[in-house]
Amino acid sequence: MALPLLRGITTPTLFRANGMFCTTQRPILAHFSANKPESSVRTAAPKSTQQATREGQVVAEQNTQGFEAVIGIETHVQLSTITKAFCSCPYNYGSQPNTTICPTCMGHPGALPVLNAEVVECAVKLGLALNCNISMTSKFDRKQYFYPDLPKGYQISQFDIPIAEKGYVDLDIPLEFGGGHRRFGITRVHMEEDAGKLLHSESGSYSQVDLNRAGVPLLEIVSEPDMRTGIEAAEYGAEIQRVVRYLGVGNGNMQEGSLRCDVNVSVRPIGQSEFGTKVEIKNMNSFSAISRAIDYEISRQILLHKESQADQIVQETRLWDESSQKTFTMRKKEGLADYRYFPEPDLPEVILTTEYIDEIRSSMPELPEAKRRRYENMGLSMQDVIFLANDDNVAHFFDSTLEHGADAKMAANWIMGDIAAYLKDEKLSIHDIKLTPLELSEMIASIKNGIISGKIAKEILVELISKGGTVKSVIEEKDLVQIADPAAIEAMVDQVLTDNPKQLEQYRAGKTKLQGFFAGQVMKASKGKASPVLLNKILGEKLKGDC
């Protein structure tokens, strides 16, 4: 049904304005390349980025001089349950509009909600993962407002008794952002349903409603106002995403809107205990955008403070505009919205038993924070720790490799180096490749035992990743066993020296750099199989001896 609607409800371009300053620090945040942080492998960033970071921090510190930002985040996590929260419709992102709907999620007369038990299970899992107290008895409430994407005129949510509350999340700030361990408080986690979507016509003269998303289960996580910088807020969001993915309760995809962060930012002079006026920012679809939007907003508010215009900071919702890298007023809040919450009479209370919670607790996987601490205790660097624990598939691969006896540091290096690079180039995830943790551990063992060189290993790895098979079979098939027989290597060295008299002459004339040339020729002759250590030793002796 076509629907004439107020114009441009969520179109940020309409709010574009000029003359506002911008402190965007875009290059620093390459780390937060959206939902695939694993793609920014270690090759991406080392020195140049760290340099840029330091400069950025200096700028930020100058801007925040004398002021402190207070940041709290409301995160909506869409659950990937098979059916919606209160009806048996499926939900698949990107389906044709209004194809996964029924009388209940369309709010038809007489239809009633029936709670999907899986939603409660996900909520308890996430609540436990965020170190919350779980409410043994909670209930649903109706949050009432009119909007065309809200079919019933109310959202089924939880008001005064959320299913989980008073928790916290631990995380490590990456070194390039200053490093350090943080603990941020979680106020509450509650269950609710998503709304549909409005599709605005190009002419702007009408809008259409797509109710596929209506009734999809969400968990809303409300943080304490514990964050102080854009980076901290982005890292908080990234940790929530990791926890969600580790638990398997949702896909945490920000582009699809499966993970949405609304941020509250206020600024106060350092030393002041009460909070400043808070502003809500929406419309950020990557962690990088969250960080940039917050830093922009902090600078905007500080400038107003410094110019004695703090009264212009008002309670409002602002939208982040990616193209101009600024936030713009979406709507001013006139007083508090009255949602007229009251207990949902169509749903009984949610009553949990200790056995139920214990069963869920015992089935929980190792979570990111526990993993990081375990990796740290193995002696891995914080950079390695953060990388490996970032993606539970990668962490799982790493853990399996270790279970097969591989050396932790070597396994980490291979995964973060060649394997990560391959995944990035081919845009694959680690579970898409044919290499198994067992074979990676075999390969590492072969290097350690001197059967293959590191260089050969790189070749073997590509083979294993793309075609599978075992290290042994690839070595045999390709005849790649390292030549570690000094006599054989000596013969090859002799041959190379004989074949290159000109270079030998130059070498003898003092051009000693040519030793590398000879080594290369020998390696080539051995098809890369010569043990590099032996080769260099014998070649050196020969060249010296001949002098």
Partner: protein, 542 residues
């Protein structure tokens, strides 16, 4: 044999029957001799469902015959009664023919317990093949995608839905004058209201336009019209019947109920529609007994069939503001129950008077939320506008009636920040008190009795400009909804009015899920009420 009724105490005006040999309860014998006249036969209410079933199975009558009998009566009476918003006569005839074919081809075993039974369905219950408006203009022309669970179960039992009955818009009212479409009249007196909000369902059964009907009861919407129209009305325990497909008015109070011209028919209906429904999480998973099994034919009853039954008569319902004719009818009913062997004592419910304001706050609060979905966006009437708020405002202003708007406003106010504690929360506390005082009383008594309404049917238009007077009429019934209890209304007498008197109903209230006991007592009461007939004069004239 139970003692005969002391008629002079019961009646101010009634139709007398000649005393003769007591009929068998099933009424088959009377049917076989003069089938077309069953409905006007005086005496203990016969079971129409049983007689239909037996005549179908014996081959004495066809479903088409029975259907056309009801449809022709419907066509004759409907111009004055106006019970139906939608009549599905063609579909009913088709279904009857189909049933006859099944019976003819030997499928008698497949004939359900309600085969060939014409049912009227209150229009706030969704029906897939028919319009469902809830009595509201905002849903004019709306056709649901599904059958309400109660309707589906009736159909599965073989019932034929003959149409959708009139009601006060979304169930908000006590006269059926609040319908967005038409005013229904009382078959006993066409200048009187049939009661409400299920007025159409009550009048349709009273005028024998259908055999039985479905209603809904949020604060008395089945019981009060049953009383006004002289039919049996049952409000089951909250959760006994699925609410799925019932357009919600006040979700924590709404129940689907049923009407019949006899307790037996009502019990048969309940057996079919009751039971857990996975589509309604507030529906109970308690077992559903066959509510007919305890309903014994009157000639098989012992002399004191209600021995060991303790009955409390609620004092607060017999005082000021209650018509004397109603009080004397109920008192006469009480002494009849005593003569049947029960002990009747006076009982007081201290929180009784608190129930009415608490009910109106809670019901309006929930209604303000439940009716938000009628916004003109996805279905129903949409008034085009340039701006969203205007679209909402115009569609709702146009589509919703006065009473509905008033209750939405009251409810919105009661739930608003700053008022919630004083209104909604307090009302919930009162609800708990009401529940407790019923629990206390029902520990001492098997059944509590009271009038179903403070008066018999009143004139059309009499209370339309005095909503408080209309609300006060719900005093007898709302407490039962607050407590979630089952209650049965059985016609028990008459007061003066109309050409043949106006009926009065006796309300019997029981503990949660004691419908079986209420129906048993109600059946004995009804079947021993030999000198009364609750067939309206409208039909006697035919």
């Amino acid at each position: 044999m139970p003692p005969p009724l002391q008629a002079h105490r019961m009646l101010l005006s009634h139709r007398r029957i000649s005393s003769g040999p007591r009929r068998r309860f099933t009424a088959v014998s009377s049917l076989s001799s003069a089938p077309a006249k069953t409905v006007v036969a005086p005496g203990p209410a016969p079971s129409s469902i049983l007689s239909i079933r037996e005549s179908l199975l014996s081959g004495e009558r066809t479903a088409v015959d029975i259907t056309s009998e009801y449809l022709s009566r419907l066509r004759r009476t409907e111009p004055s009664v106006r019970s139906f918003i939608h009549v599905a006569d063609a579909a009913a005839e088709r279904e009857a023919e189909e049933l006859d074919r099944r019976i003819a081809s030997g499928g008698k075993d497949a004939v359900g317990p309600l085969a060939g039974v014409l049912v009227g369905v209150k229009d706030n219950l969704c029906t897939a093949a028919m319009p469902s408006t809830g009595g509201s203009r905002i849903l004019d022309g709306f056709q649901p995608a599904y059958d309400a669970t109660a309707v589906r179960r009736l159909r599965e039992a073989g019932a034929i839905v003959v149409g959708k009955t009139n009601l006060d818009e979304f169930g908000m009212g006590s006269t059926t004058e609040g319908s967005g479409f038409q005013v229904t009249t009382n078959p006993w007196d066409d200048s009187c209201v049939p009661g409400g909000s299920s007025g159409g369902s009550a009048s349709a059964v009273s005028a024998r336009q259908c055999v039985v009907s479905l209603g809904s009861d949020t604060g008395g919407s089945v019981r009060q019209p049953a009383s006004f129209c002289g039919v049996v009305g049952l409000k089951p325990t909250y959760g006994r019947v699925s609410r799925f497909g019932l357009m919600a008015y006040a979700s924590s109070l709404d129940v689907v109920g049923c009407f019949g011209s006899s307790v037996f028919d009502t019990a048969t209906m309940l057996s079919v529609i009751a039971g857990h429904d996975k589509m309604d999480s507030t529906s109970s998973s308690n077992d559903v007994p066959d509510y007919r099994s305890d309903l014994v034919s009157p000639n098989l009853l012992e002399s004191k069939p209600l021995n060991n039954v303790r009955i409390g008569i609620i004092q607060e319902t017999l005082g000021e503001g209650v018509d004397t004719g109603v009080i004397s009818s109920v008192k006469a009913a009480a002494s009849h129950l005593e003569q049947l062997g029960s002990v009747v004592e006076e009982v007081t419910l201290p929180s009784f008077s608190l129930g009415l304001p608490a009910y109106y706050i809670l019901a309006s609060s929930e209604a303000s939320s439940n009716l938000s979905r009628y916004d003109g966006i996805r279905y129903g009437k949409q008034v085009p506008a340039d701006e969203l708020n205007e679209l909402y405002g115009d569609s709702r202003a146009n589509g919703l009636g006065h009473e509905v708007k008033m209750r939405i406003l009251m409810g919105t106010y009661a739930l608003s920040a700053g008022y919630y504690d004083a209104y909604y929360k307090r009302a919930q506390q009162v609800r708990t008190l009401v529940k407790k005082s019923f629990e206390e009383a029902l520990k001492r008594y098997d059944v509590l009795i009271s009038p179903a309404a403070p008066s018999a049917a009143y004139k059309i238009g009499e209370k339309t400009n005095d909503p408080l007077a209309m609300y006060a009429g719900d005093i007898m019934t709302v407490n039962v909804n607050l407590a979630g209890l089952p209650a049965l209304v059985v016609p028990c007498g008459f007061v003066e009015g109309g050409s043949a008197g106006l009926p009065v109903g006796l309300q019997m209230i029981g503990s949660p899920f004691s419908e079986g006991n209420l129906l048993r007592i109600g059946h004995i009461f009804e079947q021993t009420l030999q000198d009364l007939s609750f067939v309206p004069p409208l039909l006697a004239d035919i």
